[in-house]
């Protein structure tokens, strides 16, 4: 076979043509005969007992399908991890906008009026809205102590390091909530008939999460629930768990009415009711030697989980493991917890806890550098993890990563040193101050620790009698390139042209459970399984004597035709097998946290305008080692998109809360970066390979979310000389902080010189 390589080449996106011509089918583009529209009546209070629900006299309620918690055939919960979140509040509500009642009608306009005609009376209960209130436990709203989950990581003897430390550096760092802001809002259609059960078509990341949740909610067997993923207009984690909720709602209405029901959120409902990135608070206390080496440290990382546990334990886990960053900690104690507040549950968003704890760490590294009296470059170089050293969870770095060199290359690409010199001169004049900042970080690919073993993913590849190969996975495409990359891998494994490989639409009656489309796991873990499954097809054809070692696509097709005619469908399935050398202790949170880490150094150049208090990012260099670039155009698009979201996280996107409810739930007042707001985002890759990934790939989806915020805020400090330890940093925040700075020192950071 002399087929040119397909992996590593920028073949066009599989579903790209449909997307650029407007032919791609999203759930709202689908209409079923007799379909009703569904709507959700939500709580107007943060916490309380439901007293009465009244149906206004102006509406003819006989026309409407009405569903309450009493109509739930199965268990009233969204089955996920702890199953603590109800699908519909029955007696009490625990956060604003909690779903209580569902309505359906064929006419959307009448439906809207009907929602307004329902009034609910509550006996209010005391509510809490900040992490600090939750920790004080004056009101218990979840479990016995408001703690949704906690972890403790301990390495070495951190208590012994303080006495010998030349410097002890402390700091507190805060990050705000962030809305995923996929441009397609959440939406589903559900239908029901007694023979086939429930079918749901939706905009979602994890078909089998929805499948599991619907089985529990509707009290139906595995074969009576079907979930189909439609083209999905962005997700970023925001369609990891919430689709189970909205699918449940549509299913309940469909079961009660016997008709298909479509629920499409409008932007305001989506922003006010669905998940966001967990707000966080990180406290660092670090013992440092005279020459700037970390001796040990204590890290406290706390996230606001909202009213129910949902995914907080997993988000917290990733934030915990990434809290030490790409540095060597001889000793460390990391105490972390997710606390409950009367806020809609926070959830998955690209990076999943890591952007929060890494923001803190990379700000703190600059702080340590300042205290020690060395540069931000030097502090990082003196503490970078090296091959053979261990991470905070005592995972030994086996690959040959050279972070010194990675940093040096990023400095060169950004023109760091020349800019530093130039800014030092230019900043003396005028009110526009320029600065440049660095962030070095890592991101673990795949599920944490034993997670992949529990997932036990199954992947299939099928060859039809026409020689067209179909990849069968539940891994969903939502812009990141899943379809394309998995088809490239299968084509390469079979020596076929890219055009001869297709991907099946994720439909739980057609595709096996290859796990959720999260955690930067698809290209690396599912990709590797696709590669093996594709090879299985080849082996089968070879064993049955239908195909030799060298073949043309035509010979492959005729071998498939013969096989199918004699033996029936030609399918090959492969299940995940844990690499033997991966050790993880869930109780002690110790061991090989991830099968692979991607490594990165990002450098941001900013201008701070002291007249308007705005920060502009002028240049952005994103350099990362990602194992293997499977498709250069798609990989670059992942990085530029992630960096843009990271810039939003740092400078634009602020969720304003009032009693647990989002006040700015519109695109007019929650601002994401537009085409005129972003700098050139310059993307560079290095490829070290990775034995656990397809063709050596590591995950890259989440990585670019981690670095921009700390790099930018480090640059803002470089420009202004003022420490900002909280994001988002909007002009009003900058103004306030600069005013405050003229009066007092930052209360959170203290420095003690010993010896």
């Amino acid at each position: 076979m002399n087929v040119p390589h397909i992996v590593g080449v920028s073949v066009p996106r599989k579903e790209g043509r449909d997307k650029v011509t407007g032919a791609a089918r999203y759930v709202d583009d689908m209409v079923l005969p007799g379909m009703l529209h569904g709507a959700t009546v939500r709580s107007s209070v943060p916490r309380g007992k439901i007293k009465t629900i009244s149906f206004g006299p102006a509406v003819d309620w006989n026309e409407f399908v009405v569903v309450t918690a009493k109509d739930i055939p199965g268990k009233n919960c969204i089955a996920l991890i702890l199953d603590d979140q109800p699908c519909l509040a029955a007696e009490t509500v625990n956060h604003p906008e909690e779903p209580i009642l569902l309505l359906a009608h064929a006419d959307r306009h009448k439906l809207r009026k009907a929602v307004e005609a329902i009034s609910i009376e509550y006996d209010p209960l005391p509510s809490i809205h900040t992490m600090e209130e939750s920790e004080r436990q004056s009101t218990i709203i979840w479990g016995t102590d408001n703690t949704l989950k906690s972890y403790l990581v301990e390495k070495g003897d951190v208590d012994s390091v303080w006495k010998d430390a030349a410097h002890i550096v402390e700091g507190q760092y805060l990050t705000g909530a962030q809305e995923q802001l996929y441009i397609e809002n959440n939406g589903v259609i559900a239908s029901f008939d007694p023979e086939h059960g429930v079918t749901v078509w939706g905009s979602l990341q994890c078909p089998y999460y929805v499948h599991k949740a619907l089985m529990a909610l509707c009290g139906l067997g595995e074969d009576k629930v079907r979930v189909v993923q439609m083209e999905t207009g962005g997700a970023f984690g925001g369609k990891e768990e919430y689709p189970s909720m909205i699918a449940g709602h549509a299913a309940l209405l469909a079961i009660k009415s016997g008709k298909p029901v479509k629920i499409i959120y409008d932007r305001m409902e989506d922003m006010v009711a669905t998940t966001k990135r967990h707000p966080s608070r990180t406290r660092h206390r670090t013992a440092v030697s005279k020459d700037g080496k970390i001796l040990g440290g204590e890290i406290e990382f706390t996230i606001d989980g909202g009213a129910y546990a949902t995914l907080s334990s997993v988000v917290l886990s990733r934030g915990t493991i990434h809290a030490g960053g790409p540095y060597y900690w001889p000793s460390v104690r990391i105490r972390t917890k997710a606390v409950a507040t009367n806020t809609p549950p926070h959830g998955a968003f690209r990076g999943f806890g890591a952007p929060q704890s890494l923001f803190a760490l990379e700000r703190h590294m600059d702080r340590i550098a300042e205290v020690v009296g060395i540069s931000p470059i030097e502090i990082r170089k003196r503490n970078f993890l090296k091959t053979g050293q261990t991470t905070t969870t005592e995972q030994t770095i086996k690959e040959n990563i050279d972070l010194h060199r990675l940093l040096d290359r990023a400095l060169e690409l950004s023109g760091y040193h020349a800019k530093k010199k130039r800014f030092a001169v230019e900043n003396k004049l005028g009110k526009r101050k320029k600065g440049i900042g660095i962030a070095a970080f890592l991101h673990g690919a795949g599920f944490t620790g034993s997670g992949e073993r529990y997932l036990n993913s199954l992947v299939g590849v099928e060859a039809g009698p026409d020689g067209i190969v179909r990849v069968l996975v539940s891994s969903a495409e939502f812009g990141q390139g899943t379809n394309t990359v998995l088809c490239q891998i299968a084509a390469e494994a079979l020596g076929l042209p890219y055009e001869n490989v297709a991907i099946a639409q994720p439909d739980t009656t057609v595709v096996p459970n290859s796990g959720p489309t999260v955690a930067s796991r698809t290209a690396m873990i599912v990709g590797k399984l696709v590669q093996s499954a594709a090879r299985g097809i080849r082996q089968t054809l070879s064993k049955t004597g239908l195909l030799g070692d060298n073949y043309t696509p035509e010979q492959f097709s005729s071998a498939c035709a013969k096989y199918v005619a004699t033996h029936g469908p030609l399918k090959s399935y492969v299940r995940y097998e844990s690499p033997g050398d991966v050790y993880w202790d869930d109780a002690k949170y110790r061991g090989e946290a991830y099968a692979a880490f991607a490594w990165a150094v990002y450098i941001a150049e900013v201008t701070v305008d002291l007249t308007t208090y705005s920060v502009t990012v002028d240049d952005f260099v994103a350099l990362q080692e990602i194992g293997k670039v499977l498709n250069p155009v798609l990989a670059e698009g992942q990085i530029t998109g992630g960096v843009a979201q990271g810039i939003g996280f740092a400078l634009y996107e602020k969720v304003i809360w009032q009693n647990g409810r989002v006040l700015n739930n519109q695109m007019t007042n929650y601002i994401m970066p537009t085409s005129v707001d972003l700098p050139p985002i310059r993307v560079f890759f290095e490829e070290l390979g990775n034995v656990h990934g397809a063709h050596g790939a590591k995950g890259i989806g989440e990585l670019p979310m981690d670095g921009p915020a700390p790099a930018i805020v480090n640059a803002v400090e470089d420009a202004t000389g003022v420490r900002f330890n909280s994001i988002p940093l909007l002009p009003e925040d900058l103004f306030e902080a600069l005013q405050r700075e003229s009066h007092e020192q930052d209360v959170f950071s203290t420095v003690r010189g010993t010896a």
Partner: protein, 165 residues
């Protein structure tokens, strides 16, 4: 939809949609977006925010780039409307669509139809746009996936190809 739309009687609207004479009955205040999607089945035009911020519902109305979620259908009476479905001719993708595909200008695809219409509008006005013109011309269309870089590249590439022809 406002209550006025519901109470008011339907009226006859006629316009050219992608070059085709189209007549229909609609409430005058109905959003052009809904008429295109629901009455005419042109689902390539997307709703992102419903308040004119995101540009996903962009169409050309007499050559102007408009957010169809903000246009009452009565206002479109007699106009010529172009949607994403009118951009590709006879199964052939336009140079812009081709460039979006090649450069990675479409990821999740939901902003893509509106983005392409904004780019069509830009290239009509400025056949040889500088990067700053491209940024400005697309500023009313939000994309959450790409960080825009590959969209800029796609528009620049399409412009070069058009000029070269």
């Amino acid at each position: 939809m406002s209550s006025s739309a519901e109470k008011s009687a339907k009226c006859q609207v006629s316009f050219l949609v992608n070059g085709k004479e189209t007549k229909l009955l609609a409430h005058p205040m109905e959003r052009l977006l809904d008429v295109l999607r629901n009455d005419l089945g042109l689902t390539g035009t997307k709703e992102g925010c419903g308040e004119g911020e995101c540009g996903s519902c962009s169409v050309l109305l007499d050559g102007m780039l408009v957010n169809s979620c903000l246009v009452p259908v009565a206002q479109a009476n007699g106009a010529s409307i172009v949607t994403i479905e009118g951009i590709s001719k006879h199964e052939l993708m336009s140079p812009l669509q081709q460039a979006f595909l090649e450069c990675g200008g479409a990821q999740c695809g939901i902003c893509t139809p509106g983005m392409i219409l904004a780019a069509v509008h830009l290239l009509e006005k400025k056949p040889e746009p500088a990067l700053a013109d491209i940024r400005e011309g697309l500023a009313g269309n939000l994309c959450r996936c790409t960080g825009y870089m590959q969209i800029f590249e796609a528009v620049a590439k399409a412009a070069q190809r058009r000029v070269a022809k």
